[in-house]
Amino acid sequence: MGLAQVMALGVDITYFVTAFVFIYGLKQMSSPVTARGGIVIAGIAMLAASLITFGVPQIRLELDINMVLMLVALALGSAVAYVSAKRVAMTDMPQMIAIYNGMGGGAAAAIAAVELVKLSGGGVSHGLVVQVLAVLGAVIGSVSFAGSGIAFAKLQGLLKKTTRLPMHQFINLGLFAIVCVTGFWVATGQPVVFAYVVVFFLVALALGVMVTLPIGGADMPVVISLFNALTGLAVAFEGFVLDNAAMIIAGTVVGSAGTLLTQLMAKAMNRSLANVLFSSFGSDSGAAAEEEIEGSMKEIQAQDAAIMMAYADNVVIVPGYGMAVAQAQHKLKEMEGLLEARGVTVKYAIHPVAGRMPGHMNVLLAEAGVEYDKIFDLDEINPEFPRADVALVIGANDVVNPVARSNPDSPIYGMPILDADKAQNVIVIKRGQGAGFSGIENHLFYADNTRMLYGDGQKAVGELIANIKQL
């Protein structure tokens, strides 16, 4: 065996091991105990795969322009991502996942672009199938890239309004048609026409922007998860183009896992994926179907609320996005400690879509040091609410709205909710009297056993702590 063959064998073996370790690492992530080990070995595999790639025949091991650019690009991309990932606050995690995911999609599209530009310059085609897959990967990657960028801008607050052009869906349909036609020309072109490639990519990017623009912030996690799955698929397709098994396997695994995750999220919100993508939530339905609300909102002072909780046996805390915004998780942990010192059992109830992503609340509570065996999801905690003396709802709204159970006309009807209303007493910490993200009035706030504690989440819990301490 010559040196080249040894090198080729080494590359193949490394890619094989990498693919195995990725799957094993993801498997390890299915338990909180082994999760960290899983990502670390996956990281080592990624490093090994990147290094061995210098040994593939397409890369010349000499200091030519390609190599210089490669080293600069590696250093630049890694450094920027490393610094930004280290600096970002935990509450801003969803948009960081969006942006890194978009980068992956962009990279997949760019790989396709290099191959297609090569073909338009008279490069040798590797067959129709490869060309078609390159084009498919290019569309999916471009949409994921542009869409993730918009998702990032929205969650980061750079793009505040939900833009909806007249005939928006028709424009999207038109863009999609143009992508299909130019994509077909590029995929079957022999030779490939350069101008088509350019139009194809520009329209694919525009489509990604236009698809994401009308989607509201509440639906963003589902969309980010969808783009994550799409990027995986794009990577897999480009893996076929480059004949790279590691890319095919890793990309496909992410593609299918991401699809499942997306479905789980959409299901938790009781919405179909099509519904998320093609209709904006609460904009036209809902208001007309509102039924009359009986009762009124009753305010409570922090002092009384503190007494209520301090002398309770069971307290269930229901955190929502408002808690994340107010960064109240550390205060909550402090209050939990005080209550437990008084013999109160404290549990946390997490709705699947509380916050901006499934598990977002868990991450924030974990950051504050809340043990994960005190955190329960919907199915586990719902039977316990009738036994709870106090349910403390902090910054959550739609996920505790009993309308989802009672009013078939409500847009959120049928969505599984946390039965906080069944607790003996409900304390709602809320900034003001407005409706929730979906714009639906929350009947829980008007219930007889509900008391409203107005104020910023962190401040309100701070006052509760101060009052509990004085008891």
């Binding site: 299915s30 909180p32 890694s78 995690m93 992956g104 997949a108 530009v117 955190i375």
Partner: protein, 102 residues
Amino acid sequence: MIEAQPEFAGFTALYIFMLAAFTGYEVISRVPVILHTPLMSGSNFVHGIVLVGAMIALGHAEGPLELTIGFFAVVLAAGNAVGGYVVTVRMLEMFKSSKGAK
């Protein structure tokens, strides 16, 4: 080495695709909700393997246009891999304290 028949190689790739799709589905279906966000982040890191493809694309790029696109491919892919890794590790690090207590 024996050169594989093109049709066979294509089908092998299809088999890999199918099996990997099932694998991904199975791996995720047993994950508790509390790990969904770290897991999305983790799978986001895994498709950072696109870096390998980006490096190959830039490696055999010719002419200024291909080189420019290839350069961006590697920058973006490196960002995906490194950013995805750091964010995931940061999230999972928070589960460590409670692990020690158990």
